[in-house]
Symmetry: C2
Subunit: 267 residues, 2 copies
């Protein structure tokens, strides 16, 4: 089988994916991005994206897989080569849109250069939460009901491209994930909830946005998520099965058990 | 015209409403609740709600108006009279539901005791934001676009009974109001946004939830809201015309002007 190129972002997911693949990928990263525990073999810049993609294709790279957190980079107009410069109007249009539009645009670009974008969910499904109880404890009835309410809230938000997560306790919505992500949501709930009952219990629900392209942007939890949920007084975490990466799984399960959290995934 | 009873909650709205009414109402409040700048003529307890309502009706009170913030009170089973005790199963069922269900239940109870519940929006429309620019400055195009996106997000949430407010900047949703209310939302955005661009600008959108009974529960802003929006780096506040109370209006307008905020209301 020929080699894939891994476009690695920040965090530990690129290293976990590399370990899960039979054939080690060519590890690429934007200049300045340092994936944890992984040596970058090829750094690239957006301003020279066209030659970067062309070189990968010329070397016989069979496809590309994205893993890890990416930020929108700042661009230096002086650094563009002619071919990449011709792509700038399209890039600008992509950047004006939401995250989903940007990622779909990036995928289309790579595929035009004969680099099919492959999904982490297909290449390494063992990194995702599968259906069922992941931790030691199944959810109680109240937790299952809060999870169902949370899923309904996120489902309602899907058409407006918001909401990978929310927190529900006793049917009341304590918070909804927006631009600042899961950690900010759980920290906000931890700080706000002493002000008003109910002060304990509740479930964090995490899912992919409907329409989100899972080849490039997978919701992710890790040991930090468990710790933040426990700090927020929650008693459960419900994931969308097959759509959420569980980083450092053994540690996640141990943390959930230590905190008495129900951790489960539903289709 | 015969007299109304005002069920006064916390904050300044009860006093503003009293000043706006031609006939001063009978000021009632739950024991322990102190509306600002207003003497309570009759304190009552939920455990004796039936005799309280019966007495109002017997005295010829023509109806009831609610104003001010209420919290779900703790109940002491020893204090119930027999008639109110018979209402407990209904009260419990009401308290299990969301805020809207609870308020609809409370309205139904008062009306069964011949005390029609009147809306502040009808009695004193001058306390609400009317359509148009309230402050010195109309919204710019970007602010109007962010407001439209915010309204779309809140509209999407209406079926799940969440969301009186949200913050949008350059099309991105920075936060959605949940159980902890407007102040918590704006404080959370103020703390989170230095972490990630865009760090300045954006609009806070405030509206009633669809299906919210405006006779009992009106979204409210005041000078503190303007200050919190400015602290969060926002440049505009868009209200739903005819559905949001503006407390201490002169001060609100002065604060918005001082902060350079566009403050406007749309149908």
């Amino acid at each position: 089988m020929s080699r894939l190129a891994l476009i690695a972002g920040a965090g530990e997911l690129p290293a976990e994916l590399t370990a899960a693949l039979e054939t080690p990928p060519l590890v690429c990263a934007l200049e300045g991005v340092a994936p944890a525990g992984l040596a970058v073999e090829r750094a690239f810049r957006i301003e020279r994206l066209a030659p970067f993609m062309r070189q990968l294709a010329d070397e016989g790279i069979a496809g590309v897989v994205f893993a890890g957190a990416m930020q929108r980079p700042k661009l230096d107009p002086a650094l563009f080569d002619r071919e990449t410069a011709a792509l700038v109007p399209r890039m600008m249009a992509m950047m004006q849109g939401g995250d989903d539009a940007l990622l779909r645009g990036v995928i289309a670009l790579f595929e035009e250069y004969d680099l099919p974008v492959q999904g982490l969910a297909v290449l390494a499904p063992q990194l995702l939460a599968g259906t069922g109880v992941l931790g030691a404890r199944p959810p109680c009835d109240a937790e299952a009901a809060d999870a169902a309410r949370g899923l309904a809230i996120l489902e309602a938000l899907a058409p407006v491209d918001v909401g990978q997560g929310c927190v529900v306790c006793a049917g009341q919505c304590l918070g909804i994930e927006a631009l600042y992500g899961t950690d900010a949501l759980l920290t906000d709930v931890a700080r706000n909830r002493p002000l008003r009952a109910p002060a304990q219990g509740g479930v964090f629900v995490k899912r992919a946005k409907r329409g989100q392209d899972l080849r490039v942007d997978l919701p992710t939890i890790g040991p930090d998520t468990i710790a933040a949920a426990a700090m927020a007084g929650l008693s459960g975490i419900c994931l969308q099965a097959g759509h959420v990466v569980v980083l450092r799984r053994a540690e996640v399960l141990a943390c959930a058990e230590a905190a008495g959290l129900a951790l489960w995934a539903m289709p």
